[in-house]
């Protein structure tokens, strides 16, 4: 169902294996059509439990989200949250292998790490749900810290790094762009890590330290969804997760990104066939009211074949062979991005001026009511389609709980509906200020 994602890029390192699931759009939900029911509890060790029942499916999903992402890493040991995620499958204190018992119970699982959090989920026939409680609680209790697992997974992650960020044309773009746009905030690096060496150097001591610091009940959110009974789930949660010691609650103190005060530019030459441009602007934290306006602005400019940039720059002026506008959807203030590949022979300055012209048009004339209605309809539709899958609903509840309010899963569409043409005009002016902009020219060496 990946076609329904709104922000479309691989900012998320999808683990532990590369099935495509829809996790890119960590934003928004639906109010009017289909309420997602849930009940919320807190265990005495601080673990939050949310239960969503859906009796129409024979399946159950157990989703465990840990409040730790790449942004919590030591700048000299980046990529660790993601490497650690791999190690979570390398055996826990009482259970030598994670996957086999789950597969034996007819289940499957996956996990992913973002800059903000790490999420694990498994889906299995509802009658076998206790197997998931057993497996997930044991690895929250303690890992086996196997040397062999660390050695193998370091190599696996290095291959993953090579496959996606070295051995692909334009693969290193986001390493460069993040470093350009963020001077201070740990969003400066990608979840895969700054460099291979950081992953290669990870030691068992690092692994243990990371586990004890972040993988505690108070730092986790457990969502159970599907054909389950709330009372039964509560009992199972108390039985399996209740005895896990509290641990210390991690208090996050991240360096704050200072406001950008001057344009930033970087030019890179690489062995790629086409010139490309990437421009990004700082936007707003995930729960800021202006976030929703910024989200809709990206749809006006770059969402689909009726969007402004595509029609002006690909279709009419024929300067780009493709152009996109999206944002990162991160918890702390993220980036709004425009990127495109230039038609061979087009000069970078001309292509960039054409992007600027579209932005000027937006600043001067704003958007029409019809155009706003269109992007709101698209948002509503995307939300409904995303909620089809049980696993998606479970991870959405977990992510909203992490943001501070699980009920946003049912109310967030109202925030989009409240966006007006006036707020678009106001927020566009704030965002599209040249001092707030970082530009990367990614030039073809072969020209």
């Amino acid at each position: 169902m990946k076609i329904y994602s709104k922000s479309l890029i691989n900012f998320v390192v999808l683990e532990k294996i590369f099935q495509v699931i829809n996790i890119f759009n960590v934003c928004c939900r639906i109010t009017t059509l289909f309420m997602i029911n849930f009940e919320r509890f807190i265990l005495s060790n601080g673990l939050r439990l949310l239960v969503h029942t859906d009796k129409s499916t024979p399946m159950a999903v157990v989703n465990v989200l840990y409040d730790v992402g790449a942004k919590d890493e030591n700048p000299h040991k980046t990529g660790f949250a993601h490497l650690f995620e791999h190690l979570m499958f390398g055996g826990s204190i009482n259970i030598p292998v994670y996957d086999e018992p789950l597969q034996q119970a007819g289940g499957e699982n996956n996990a992913f790490t973002t800059n903000d959090f790490t999420n694990y989920f498994c889906q299995l026939p509802a009658e076998n749900i206790e197997t998931a409680f057993w497996l997930e609680s044991d690895r929250m209790l303690s890992l086996a810290f196997s040397k062999k697992s660390l050695e193998v997974q370091r190599k696996v992650v290095c291959e993953e790094f090579k496959e996606n960020y070295i051995n692909k044309p334009y693969g290193d773009v986001w390493h460069k762009l993040r470093e350009l746009a963020y001077s201070t905030h740990p969003y400066r690096w990608m979840t895969i890590g700054k460099e291979l060496k950081h992953v290669e150097d990870a030691s068992l001591e690092d692994v243990k330290g990371f586990f004890h610091k972040f993988y505690t009940p108070a730092n986790a959110i457990l969502v159970v969804a599907g054909n389950v009974d709330v009372v039964q789930v509560k009992l199972l949660a108390e039985k399996w997760f209740g005895p896990i010691p509290n641990g210390e609650k991690y208090e996050r103190k991240l360096p704050v990104e200072p406001p950008q005060t001057a344009p930033r530019k970087l030019e890179v030459k690489a062995d790629v066939p086409l010139d490309a441009i990437y421009k990004c602007w700082h936007i707003y934290p995930r729960l800021d009211d202006k976030y929703y306006t910024a989200d809709l602005i990206t749809d006006v400019l770059g969402g689909g074949a009726s969007s402004r940039l595509f029609n002006a720059l690909v279709k009419d002026k024929k300067l780009f062979s493709n152009i996109n506008c999206y944002h990162l959807g991160s918890t702390d203030a993220g980036l709004l991005v425009i990127d495109g590949k230039l038609v061979k022979g087009v000069e970078m300055k001309i292509a960039e001026a054409a992007i600027d012209e579209e932005i000027m048009k937006l600043l001067e004339k704003g958007v029409s009511e019809t155009e706003l209605e269109k992007v709101k309809n698209k948002t509503e539709s995307a939300m409904v389609f995303e909620d089809i899958g049980l696993a998606n609903r479970a991870s959405s509840i977990a992510i909203y709980e992490l943001l501070g309010d699980a009920s946003l899963v049912n109310t967030e569409l109202d925030k989009y509906k409240a966006v007006t043409t006036a707020s678009i005009a106001m927020v566009s002016k704030e965002i599209f200020n040249e001092n707030n902009c970082s530009t990367l020219y990614y030039l073809s060496k072969t020209i």
Partner: protein, 425 residues
């Protein structure tokens, strides 16, 4: 509480699985509609499948270009107006071209359906293929191709198919810059006229269907000069490569190799097919497979390795696919062969076999959830000209296939010398 022992489970292998039956309708022009009405959400998916894949083109690229350009202009609307007509309602209208078939599909909130079907109808009955749109399509496809050709995974995928089927077979042919450049509006119009306007089609609709769905579909598609799908494809002969082993340098600076191993394999009608699906799963079809356990989880040579049977209608191939570190590509291939050999020499253990069976049954159970997934299963069955017995026999094959049978199948199909072997660096 004993955390060392697993809670009791119900073995998924004992589940009874049911595939919800479809309903059928026949439009006035004879075109058949398969429908699954289900789901709490007010959403619908409509897919029109035309017999208009690259099987029917007489020059490479025509089928794909025609399919792509369905949304690029009618006598009434420009490309922009078409896209606005869909996107205003938050609707996704997409089109795809495959080997035998090509599709036009719609995903929308059901409440908007009546606004959208007329536009969809217009694309099928009134597309004009403007010259400037084709030029733009060519230019942008060429650019995309140039980028893709730098990517070893993309190059390896094209080459392995060409070895198995030959470059002149629809399954083995691939897009080249010169064939793209030569496409003309006249060729697209001819193809459109024959394979869309007057072509063969079948419809699949699923989701929360409105009461008047038949009337809606019949009014919009029943009067068109479409014909019911016959699923008849003129025979084409594959010309597999004689040479079996290839090592290709695509990029001097690469740090990985894209490895593809393949051998021809029959289609879903073959009596071995269903049991081989079980064997494939065990061999390389899921995270707990032999290949993944050895080559990723023990050796760390790769981020992932999979084997699969290509989902082709007429003939197929069994593939193994992975990206491995440049210095361990040859070691990876020899480990794959070791795993093949092991399956031919030693019976799969009871526990492992039960695990794979439980896993597959649990996965199918989870997969049968929701209208789109159910319809996806049916579509595959129908396009392969099978019926529900295929589904139930597949389930039976998972439940009943023995270790002895798996060894026999391994001996028959998993001999290294039968495989094409390719590494693209």
């Amino acid at each position: 509480m004993n955390r060392k022992s697993a809670p009791k489970i119900t073995e998924a292998v004992n589940f009874t699985l049911n595939l919800k039956p479809y309903e059928t309708l026949v439009l006035d022009n004879g075109v058949k509609v398969y429908a699954i009405n289900e789901g709490p959400q007010d959403i619908i998916q409509i897919e029109i499948v035309f017999s208009a894949g690259n099987w029917f083109e007489n020059k490479n690229g025509i089928a794909g270009a025609t399919n792509f350009m369905l949304k690029n202009g009618t006598t009434q609307k420009t490309a922009l107006q078409i896209n606005e007509a869909f996107e205003y309602y938050g609707t996704f209208c997409s089109r795809h071209c495959y080997n035998e078939t090509a599709t036009l599909s719609l995903h929308t909130l059901t409440k908007y359906l009546h606004h959208l079907l007329p536009v969809m109808q217009e694309l099928i009955s009134d597309s004009v293929f403007p010259e400037n749109e084709l030029e733009l399509f060519k230019q942008n496809s060429l650019q995309k191709l140039t980028v893709n050709l730098r990517n070893a995974e993309f190059v390896a995928g094209r080459l392995i198919d060409s070895y198995v089927y030959g470059e002149n077979h629809p399954y083995g042919i691939y897009t080249r810059p010169d064939t793209l450049e030569q496409l003309t509006v006249e060729e697209l119009k001819l193809f459109y006229n024959q394979y869309y306007l007057n072509g063969e089609a079948v419809l699949f609709v699923s989701g929360n269907l409105p009461e008047k769905i038949f009337e809606l579909l019949n009014n919009n598609f029943g009067k068109l000069s479409l014909k019911p799908a016959t699923f008849h494809y003129p025979a084409k002969v594959a010309t597999p490569s004689i040479v079996k082993k290839y090592r290709i340098e695509n990029d001097k600076t690469s740090v990985q190799g894209a490895i593809r191993l393949a051998q021809p394999f029959p289609n879903r009608h073959h009596p071995d097919f269903k049991k081989v699906m079980l064997l494939n799963c065990l061999f390389g079809g899921f995270f707990g497979s032999r290949l993944m356990s050895n080559i990723r989880e023990d050796k760390g040579f790769t981020y992932g390795i999979y084997s699969y049977i290509q989902n082709h209608l007429q003939q197929s191939a069994w593939l193994i696919s992975t990206e491995a570190g440049k210095d361990v590509c040859e070691a990876t291939i020899s480990e794959v062969y070791k795993e093949m050999k092991a399956l031919t020499q030693k019976h799969v253990g009871k526990d492992e076999l039960l695990l794979v069976k439980n896993y597959m049954m649990g996965t199918i159970l989870g997969d049968l959830n929701g209208p789109f997934q159910i319809m996806g299963r049916w579509k595959n069955i129908i396009l392969n000209q099978l019926d529900e017995t295929y589904f139930y026999d597949s389930v039976k094959a998972i439940k009943e296939t023995t270790a002895e049978e798996l060894m026999e199948l391994s001996k028959k199909y998993l001999s290294p010398e039968q495989f094409y072997e390719l590494v693209v660096y």
